[in-house]
């Protein structure tokens, strides 16, 4: 019987089994926004009489048996001692709970024989009961819209656009938390733990089909069924961008092999090849994953590699070029028409209008909106340019933005107006410089205008080049 993942991951009735004071009723707290939603029911199951008053004080109805919970249960989070996990799982099977996430750990991951035997028992009970089992040893579901969270710090309310699959609870939580700081919000995230029933391909298939999910990201350390993983990855990547961050890349020594090829085919080399072959995108850290997702979500899709770059000073013009060329993109000469127009007004004292446009002296450090718009329009019209990236000169300007927030508003209006009418991808670079606190606030305001903004030239270039590579693959160009 196929699992009804859609029902399990978009539940109407949720039960937390084993919530307790010692962890601050963590799971009930994590799910509290869900309990407050109209039409959603959050219940607790706890047999310990010492714990029940605390649970009821949170306004959650407690039952001493899962069987007593009224109606059908779509999703249950089990945070029970390992010794009773199989018994509670049996209760879930009897109650015909659709999806169960098992926070409880101490199973096969310990490497101990009896713990592994217990995991096998869980597998059997859940399989026989037709339960969509998430975990064990996991942080379960994060459904932002429904307010079902992996951590009480994660946001809730509107649904996001990014699906996440995490083989680590920490990285799953952090993707939600850190992503949100960068305008990357989760639709559905699943911390998969030991993945004894539902595994990466199941979740990939689900997120590929989920209309709310525009981009999929994942953190994985290993794959159980290689061919099935490849199949699901290919399918998902043919439908929407999939960003894969693989942990554990150091190879455990060369394999025993009789061939030259075998000695070179490290686990990492083969895995990278699979990601590429599937048309998915490889990332290398949490920040890198978020950067690439950001580029995919907020920069217009493009298959062209030729960048028009804008910087405020000569030094930045040089290194922004280094960064984009280093990421495999081109920084070409602009068209003659562009040079003719630029020549008519560009202030070349202390500046230059080759490519990059070294524009500090032209737009002025207050940032003339009219002149900046004119530069954007020139690059937009230029047939030699496929995408645009711009340094926001936070080192000079952030203090002014802080003292006079309207000055940033004016700049953001100009950027947003450009993005609105432009067909080319646009990336803004807002370096923390010596004004990290101000830049942090400025970044949020840039993001709020729907602009892809990055903390360094390298990060902007790396993210944009992979987004472009993805669109080229989809278009059959590379």
């Amino acid at each position: 019987m196929p699992h009804d993942l859609n029902r399990a991951l978009n539940p109407k009735t949720v039960v937390v089994v084993g919530s307790k004071r010692a962890d601050g009723y963590m799971w009930l707290r994590n799910y509290a926004p869900f309990g407050e939603r109209d039409g959603c029911k959050l219940y607790s199951v706890q047999i310990d009489p010492n714990e029940i008053p605390g649970i009821e004080a949170m306004g959650v109805t407690n039952f001493t048996s899962l069987a007593d919970v009224p109606g059908d249960v779509d999703y249950a989070m089990l945070a029970v001692p390992r010794q009773v996990a199989t018994r509670v799982m049996t209760d879930c099977a009897k109650k015909q709970v659709c999806g169960v996430a098992l926070f409880t750990s101490g199973f096969a991951e310990t490497g101990e024989a009896d713990a592994t035997a217990m995991q096998d028992q869980l597998l059997q009970i859940a399989t026989d009961g037709g339960i969509a089992l998430i975990g064990p040893n996991c942080m379960g579901l994060y459904n932002r819209k429904l307010g079902i969270r992996q951590s009480g710090d994660q946001g809730h309310g509107d649904g996001g656009e990014v699906g996440f699959i995490g083989q680590s609870g920490t990285h799953s939580i952090n993707f939600g938390l850190v992503g949100e700081q960068h305008g990357v919000r989760v639709s559905t995230s699943i911390s998969i733990g030991n993945a004894i029933i539902l595994d990466v391909p199941d979740y990939l298939d689900y997120l590929a089909d989920d209309a709310d999910t525009k981009v999929i990201a994942m953190y994985i350390e290993g794959v159980k069924d290689g061919p099935r993983f490849v199949q699901s990855l290919r399918r998902a990547a043919s439908m929407k961008p999939v960003v894969v961050w693989k942990g554990g890349v150091t190879d455990a020594g060369a394999r025993a092999t009789a061939s030259h090829t075998g000695s070179l085919a490290t686990e990492q080399a083969v895995f990278s090849a699979i990601v590429r072959q599937a048309g998915a995108i490889e990332a290398h850290s949490l920040e890198d994953t978020i950067d690439v997702v950001k580029a995919l979500l907020y920069a217009k899709p493009s298959t062209g590699r030729r960048m028009g770059l804008m910087a405020m000073t000569g030094g930045q013009s040089v290194v922004i070029t280094d960064a984009f060329v280093g990421a495999g993109l081109d920084v070409p000469r602009l068209s003659d028409a562009s040079y003719a127009e630029l020549g008519s007004f560009f202030n070349i004292v202390g500046g230059s209008f080759q490519n990059p446009l070294d524009m500090g002296g032209t737009i002025g450090f207050g940032g003339s909106a009219e002149t900046l718009t004119r530069l954007f329009d020139i690059l937009e019209r230029d047939e030699n340019v496929d995408g645009i990236a711009m340094e926001m000169a936070s080192g000079f300007l952030a203090r002014m933005w802080q003292a006079n927030p309207v000055s940033l508003d004016g700049l953001l209006d100009t950027l947003a107006a450009h993005k609105e009418k432009s067909s080319k991808p646009f990336a803004a670079v807002l370096q923390p410089q010596h004004v990290e606190d101000v830049v942090r606030q400025a970044r949020v305001r840039v993001q709020e205008r729907g602009i892809a903004v990055f903390a360094s030239f390298e990060r902007a270039a790396g993210a944009l080049s992979r987004a472009i590579a993805y669109h080229r693959f989809r278009a059959g160009l590379d």
Partner: protein, 230 residues
């Protein structure tokens, strides 16, 4: 296809095919290889050399002799039937003298291909993902820089094209400092042929075509090594 060769090796309890067997297997599958034939007599060797075309290389074939040139078991650049005949006798005599107990199966007769840009094409079986193919430049580029690209079998045309373009040394294939550019289309076709060969022969665990000579108008595997699954 090629099963007779694999079955013969299986019957002998061998997982490593001889160069002659490996090349025959690949030749049958349509992979461009420099053919090698086993001659057991001087007359055989001359006849085969005439068929293959000159210049010719002879190599002693003996399970006990792995370092053939160390025992004088290799003769290069033979340009006539007379040379081949004389070299056959010399190579066999040298081998017998160096390794008196060795079983001499014969002498491999192959064409001496003209030098091209050296590339390596290979396959290994990944425990997780099954057969994986590799492409790289030969020599130092693969030995030290490990400048290679991988794809899982089966390859499609895009995969073959990407593998070749992906290596850092790709400009070498485009023609470097006046050297001929390599025939990329033929290299792509070779990769696809090898992919089909592997799909059709799941018994093959590992494969090295090293080197493959790439020319401006073609590509040919000069040496081949095939390892069967245990």
């Amino acid at each position: 296809m090629g099963n007779a060769i694999i079955e013969a090796a299986r019957k002998d309890g061998r997982t490593i095919l001889s160069e002659i067997e490996a090349k025959q297997l690949l030749e049958q599958a349509g992979v461009p290889v420099s053919p090698a034939r086993l001659a057991t007599t001087k007359d055989d060797a001359v006849k085969m050399a005439n068929e293959l075309g000159y210049p010719i290389v002879l190599k002693i074939v003996s399970p006990q002799i792995t370092h053939k040139s160390d025992v004088g078991g290799v003769a290069l650049g033979l340009t006539s039937a007379e040379d081949v005949g004389a070299a056959f006798e010399r190579v066999v005599a040298n081998a017998k003298k160096a390794e008196p107990g060795a079983t001499i199966e014969g002498v491999a007769v192959q064409r001496m291909e003209k030098q091209g840009t050296e590339v390596i094409v290979g396959m290994t079986t990944d425990a997780q993902f099954g057969p994986v193919m590799m492409f790289g430049l030969g020599g130092v580029m693969v030995e030290i820089l490990k400048d290679v690209a991988f794809r899982v079998v089966p390859l499609n045309e895009r995969d073959a094209r990407q593998m070749i373009h992906e290596i850092k040394g790709y400009p070498v294939l485009e023609g470097f400092r006046g050297s001929d550019p390599a025939d990329i289309a033929k290299l792509e076709a070779l990769l696809l042929k090898v992919s089909s060969f592997i799909e059709a022969n799941p018994d093959v665990a590992e494969l090295d075509l090293n080197p493959v000579f790439a020319y401006k108008d073609g590509a040919i595997a000069v040496d081949a090594r095939v390892v069967l699954k245990n």
